[in-house]
């Protein structure tokens, strides 16, 4: 379609400055890098918030920060890590890797992709701007009604949260649809769905979760926005509303969200293990079906977050059974990963360390999850540090370890340089040590009754020592992240170059140069197997000869590749939208003006490459 303004590969940065080329980019790889760096920045922000909380809890009756600041910290820590760190870090891999892994030159809608990123950034900045005005959100990342009503939260804090999350939701929805279309339509010839790499599969399931789960929280947020701005009473019990409505809407989103956070990491691990064990993924179809099952059941378990609400024995039983069911496909995956290692030749490189760390830690998070799948047990554990420990084993031990496996694995592909193995292993062991020192004791603290979201505790409850250990552990994690950053800076300056295929890997992205050219594939490959690149190099291992590398494309072929040209409308549309949304806190006139600007930008965005069918006019 719209390729009138044909864009020659490699000419992008020449006509304007480097900065301009980044803000107008529609290249999925550059957008991936933008997502990745923004996400890492917010990961650090959320991490600092966590460190301050840990300092506050290091001893009983501490007065380091007051209750207000502490409540803001845990609210923003949760919101930041979920929406601004793990999700965009996953999105960074979706962006960079999916087109490369399916043999495509870009995503289906490159400008929409850029728009997703700019709207994400707008939402992230909007949310964090609340710190500057001294009204950071303080009702928890779950924002339970009716504490979020004007009556109980009169400042603008919740407004920042409501509007910020809505902005972020729009970004997620656009990205979700974009990747669904990309994966369905843009796979290389021969890549049937069952030949798709596992990371692409898990990402595919994730996109469906995104587009189905976000509408639920959007409805919830809009009702809350109406309550706060226009005086409706959806969540106001005194006016006949129901605060539990929010809990249902939030968790119908919130539980699939957990799988949105973990499935991409599971996909990464399913790529890293076969590469470093030099064996195909054990039972790949079962791993795929398990991923789909997890995604599907993920929508039927939300009320297990509400066992203490008093829904009655029938609902408690039903949601308990559904939750237990979800443990089956999850457990199957863990066994299949171990089956992948079994009989392989396991090469201990840093990406594998993190993937193994993922399995080891995620298993623990899964097992503690089974405990509170039982409502009677959950009544003792919910809202205690036992649950805090549980979901950090899943989201840190799981998602973050998995994402770091992906970072170390694909870094050479993205930058062309290898990260240092020695520093990588320091990073891994320090993070492993720090992580377990931080979160393992929290199981114990929860079992001896320490509730969540408390800024202080009495000295006579036996909570002091292990809280101190937990705080020390958190700082060890911080050191491990510093080691990673040192690694990045050092190797980018003078590290060894990676070559196309440093790990002797199995999938298409390793068959092209590192970093990949703008057009990715000079010649779109034809695929015959789930591990097409391995097949080319080593054969199928059952007597089939290696297929051999295809002949390189000629200069004329490369010259004929048309790539989408850069566009400044995504960032302008994002800015106009941010201007409109922030108007909600400033003035109705700004909302109207911002709305008009947004409409104008949408119009220009839509018609950017529209040409009248006849030659007349312009």
């Amino acid at each position: 379609m719209a390729t009138h303004a044909a864009f020659m590969p490699g000419t992008e940065a020449k006509s304007h400055g480097v900065l301009w080329s980044w803000i107008t980019t529609v290249d999925h790889k550059r957008i991936g890098i933008l997502y990745g760096t923004s996400a890492f920045f917010f990961f650090l922000v959320g991490g600092v918030e966590a460190l301050i909380m840990r300092l506050q809890l290091a001893r009983p009756d501490s007065t380091l920060v007051g209750p207000q600041a502490y409540n803001e910290l845990f609210t923003m820590h949760g919101t930041t890590m979920v929406f601004l760190a793990i999700m965009p870090l996953s999105a960074s891999f979706f962006n960079y890797m999916i087109p490369l892994m399916i043999g495509a030159r870009d995503v289906a809608f490159p400008r929409l992709n850029a728009l997703s990123y700019w709207i994400f950034l707008a939402g992230a900045l909007f949310l964090n701007a609340s710190w500057l005005f001294g009204v950071a959100p303080d009702a928890g990342w779950f924002g339970y009604a009716n504490l979020t009503s004007r009556q109980f939260s009169p400042t603008a804090s919740i407004d920042f949260w409501v509007l910020g999350l809505q902005i972020l939701g729009i970004s997620s929805l656009m990205a979700g649809f974009n990747f669904i279309v990309t994966i369905i339509n843009m796979r290389a010839p021969g890549m049937t769905l069952m030949r798709m790499p596992l990371f692409v599969w898990m990402s595919f399931v994730t996109q469906f979760l995104l587009v189905l789960a976000f509408p639920a929280i959007t409805v919830g947020l809009i009702l809350l926005m109406f309550d706060r701005f226009f005086g409706t009473l959806f969540y106001a019990p005194a006016g006949g509303g129901d605060p539990l409505l929010w809990q249902h809407l939030f968790w119908i989103f919130g539980h699939p969200e957990v799988y949105i956070l973990i499935l991409p990491a599971m996909g990464i691990v399913s790529e890293v293990l076969p590469t470093f064990a030099r064996k195909p993924l054990f039972g790949a179809p079962v791993v795929i079906y398990s991923g789909i099952m997890i995604g599907f059941f993920g929508f039927g378990v939300w009320s297990h977050h509400m066992f203490s609400v008093g829904l009655g024995p029938v609902a408690d039983s039903a949601f308990s059974i559904a939750t237990m069911l979800i443990a089956v496909p999850t457990g199957v995956k863990i066994f299949n990963w171990i089956g992948t290692l079994w009989g392989g030749t396991v090469r201990f490189k840093t990406p594998l360390f993190f993937a193994l760390g993922f399995i080891a830690m995620f298993t623990m998070g899964g097992l503690s999850g089974i405990m509170h799948a039982s409502p009677p047990v959950d009544l003792q554990q919910t809202d205690t540090y036992f649950v805090v420990a549980h979901f950090h084993y899943v989201l840190f031990g799981g998602s973050i370890f998995g994402l770091f496996a992906g970072i170390y694995y694909w870094w050479p592909k993205i930058t062309g340089r290898l990260l240092d193995e020695r520093l990588g292993k320091w990073h891994f062991w320090l993070m492993m040590l720090g992580f377990n020192a931080t979160f393992f004791p929290q199981h114990y603290l929860g079992l001896i009754g320490m509730p969540r979201r408390i800024y202080t505790y009495a000295p006579d409850l036996g909570w002091y020592f292990w809280n101190l250990v937990s705080t020390i552990g958190a700082f060890v994690i911080a050191v491990s992240i510093l080691v990673f950053m040192v690694n990045v800076v050092r190797t980018q300056r003078s590290g060894p170059t990676a070559g196309d295929d440093p790990w002797d890997a199995r999938t298409l992205e390793w068959s092209i140069p590192s970093p990949p050219p703008v057009y990715n594939f000079a010649r779109v490959p034809t695929v015959h197997d789930r591990d097409p690149f391995w097949l080319q190099k080593h054969g199928d291992g059952h007597g089939g000869k290696p297929a051999g590398r295809p002949a390189p494309a000629s200069a004329a072929e490369i010259k004929a590749i048309h790539m989408p040209p850069p566009s400044y409308w995504p960032i302008l549309l994002g800015a106009a939208f941010l201007f409109m949304m922030s108007g909600a806190l400033i003035s109705i006139y700004q909302v109207v003006l911002g709305g008009l600007l947004t409409l104008y930008c949408m119009f220009r965005f839509a018609l950017e490459y529209h040409r009248p069918p006849s030659g007349g006019g312009h």
Binding site: S308, S320, V377, Q380
Partner: protein, 343 residues
């Protein structure tokens, strides 16, 4: 690329051993003391004990699975580690019988958890017998009110129960969602505005147990604590009798001065003392002096603490809704003396 520096595995092993050593010594030094004031694994009621049984059942099974999985993982890492010159391993794609069997195994194990779970869910949510002691629990930002409608007693932040008697808690909140939780007596139940939740249990061991709000409810959520006293047989009746008695008249001069001050000031708008005032927004103070702790279990009931509290409530409990009435020096001392005399 596949050459390995000998120092790497050694370094990793040393670090791992060190970690285990440090953690092990830390554990043995401090120990994991389970018998603490808010322990969830020392159940002192039928409700808590039923829960605990399931917890232990799941714990043992998951410990077994944990050892199996982590053991298999470590075994794979050791047994199948790359050796120099190793050929490309056999490209195994899966093993259907094996995969089917472990899927079924998981389902069976989960069934072992599900059956007792559902039994206990229904057992613990049965309607209480009509002989049960009814206690109405009102969660407020940020303190607890306890009413015994059958006994015509209203008190705050200190819950008294007889041992061996079934209690039916009726939970309600006028403001936001809280959660009523006495860890040693069993699991929590949310306190939801405009909705009456129920929690039924029979405490079986006399003692004092701390409780705490478990659902984030705003600024001083961390300070929304309470104390539970489970009385031995006979002792509860004495407590009831003392609470039902009208508040005592102060005898010493300072306390009498305090009473006058109380009756003339804004205190009466929120607090009830039979014969003096009838406010309902704050805790009932009829027998304030008999409570061991005040301000939602935050401080011991002493003259010094009480004086400080009256002079600046929000300083002691951030966000406290009790206003600073500008009581100073003699005034706050007199009020404290009066309240302490209300045994």
């Amino acid at each position: 690329m596949t050459t390995r520096l000998p120092s790497r595995p050694r370094f990793a092993t040393v670090l791992l051993l060190l970690t285990v050593l440090v953690l092990a010594s830390a554990c043995s030094w401090v120990g994991w003391d389970w018998d603490t004031p808010m322990s969830t694994v020392m159940p002192k009621s039928d409700f808590g004990k039923m829960t605990h049984e399931i917890f232990m059942l799941i714990s043992w099974w998951t410990l077994g699975i944990f050892i199996l999985v982590e053991g298999a993982l470590l075994y794979c890492c050791w047994r199948f580690r790359d050796r120099p010159g190793a050929p490309i391993p056999k490209q195994i794609h899966g093993n259907t019988p094996l995969e089917v069997s472990w899927t079924i195994a998981f389902a069976v194990i989960l069934l072992i958890f599900v059956i007792p779970t559902i039994r206990v869910i229904f057992k613990t949510q049965e309607a209480p017998a009509s002989t049960a002691l009814r206690v109405e629990v009102v969660g407020r930002q940020w303190w607890w009110e306890f009413r015994y409608p059958g006994l015509r007693i209203t008190t705050a932040n200190e819950l008294h129960l007889p041992v061996g008697q079934t209690v039916a808690f009726h939970l309600n909140a006028p403001d936001v969602i809280h959660s009523f939780w006495i860890p040693q007596l069993g699991g929590k139940r949310d306190v939801v505005p405009h909705r009456v939740n129920q929690l039924v249990m029979t405490p079986d061991t006399p003692g004092e147990y701390p409780g705490q709000c478990a659902e984030y409810c705003g600024m001083s959520h961390a300070n929304m604590r309470f104390r539970v006293v489970v009385h031995p047989k006979g002792e509860f009746e004495q407590w009831v009798k003392a609470q039902q008695a009208p508040p005592v008249e102060p005898t010493d001069a300072l306390a009498q001065q305090g009473k006058t001050l109380f009756a003339q000031s804004a205190c009466v708008g929120c607090h009830a003392i039979s014969g003096v005032s009838a406010g309902v927004l704050g805790p009932n103070l009829n027998h304030f002096g008999s409570r061991k702790m005040f301000a939602a279990g935050l401080m011991a009931t002493t003259a010094e603490n009480l004086t400080k509290w009256i002079e600046n409530p929000a300083h002691m409990k951030p966000g406290a809704l009790m206003p600073n009435l500008g009581m100073k020096g003699e005034q706050s001392k007199a009020l404290a003396a009066y309240l302490l005399s209300l045994k």
